[in-house]
Amino acid sequence: MTMYSTNEFKSGLKVMMDNDPCSIVENEFVKPGKGQAFSRVKIRNLKTGRVIERTFKSGDTLEAADVMDVDMQYLYCDGSHWHFMSPETFEQYAVDDTVIGDAKLWLKEQDTCIVTLWNGLPLSIMPPNFVTLKIIETDPGMRGDTSGGGGKPAKLETGAVVRVPLFIQTDEIIKVDTRTGTYVSRAKE
């Protein structure tokens, strides 16, 4: 069993805490001039996404978590599960609603996502930073308006709703930043 001690804690390190896989966000070294040194650690629970803060004595250890980020292709959704495939091993993985979370708003078949595996099982899905999606519904805007000011809601083929400039029309394809859920630009077919 691999153990990490506080001086090895750094951003991105995957460890087990309270029986859950976690990722270290930030590790701050705290030491009174005379006395015990501490590590004040911000840590993200990879199951819940919640970030908490904890204090460790210098030299304390946490068990390594068997967590891997793997690029996988999104195949399809059967209504209750989302299916992914590793392009290297061709192994397929099905995940349910709790694992997919908000990522489902951005998934288009064939897109490559990052699937986080814990002990070989999918833990979370990260969509690509940018996706191109088709608008299926938006109010007709004024064609002449290219200023981008104001904006209006537009429903995308995946069901997500983003704000777009007034000149964007139904059936157009746009580029969206999935980290912020915002419109970036028009995209080519």
Partner: protein, 330 residues
Amino acid sequence: MSLAQKSSGWRPSASINTLKQRAGILSALRHFFEKRGVLEVETPQLSHAVGTDPFLHYFSTDFSLPNIPSTHMLYLQTSPEFAMKRLLAAHSGPIFQICKAYRNGEVGHLHNPEFTLLEWYQPGFDHHALIQDVDLLLQSVLHSQPGHSISYQALFETHFHFNPHTATLEEIRKKALSRAHSWENSLIDRFDKDTWLQYLLATFIEPTLGQESPCYVYDFPQSQAALARLRREDTFFVAERFEVYVKGIELGNGFHELCDPDEQKQRFLNDLQIRETQRCPLPPLDQHFLAALSSLPPCAGIAMGIDRLIMLATQASSIKEVLSFPFENS
């Protein structure tokens, strides 16, 4: 690391403007001491012995020529305290030193394993008299308002409603857990009394200290005396030690210095015992220091982190912003 990052790694992490401010502060410090007749001294950074503090980890090396085995260990000093006390014992009068000190394993936004320390001793002073002069120094260098003092006991009574000198481990746990987050419980079960006090101070109290003007916390628990003398208070002893805080940052630690060689030796041996239980290496005791201690005049001294002082003067948020080259790219 990308090529672009690699090729800019040679650059200093402090701006040239900050380095000019840094030089200005060093010169203001020397001017302050010159005006008061405090002698600037230099002492070895590489010594045959080193401090025993169980929470300070030293760098060691050996004195040797290539290919000739040597067992002669030398230690980079964690502070110049022992050598400077030998000078005081030899009637140097008031002295100061601005030098590098070395502490292994300490890296963070307030820590660099090699850092600049101001060490300053005033014969005839106790810790309260030295606090007054340290405050004058901060007023002149940081342009701070006159500071204020509060005892360690009053601090814990205000924040946590217990007397840190007399409270039992169980009382501290109870009072503290009402404030500490519940999820901390499992990890801090193993804290002893001093670890608890240091954890509470560092986590909840320190960030509030010295926000308007410097704050001096004095009279520490006997168990955290380090090299300070003890004084009896009713049923317990306090260590005549102080810490200075500015804007939540611990800037320096001072002592009304212990002059008793027997007591000092006992404390060294205690430290070594703690080191042994922590499986830390055991350094040799500084016999020259112990021999000089019986001639040490009553005095008070302080060690102040100069990089942190410069951080405060330049409103830097990380020590890297005031160092030409921090540990990571030294």
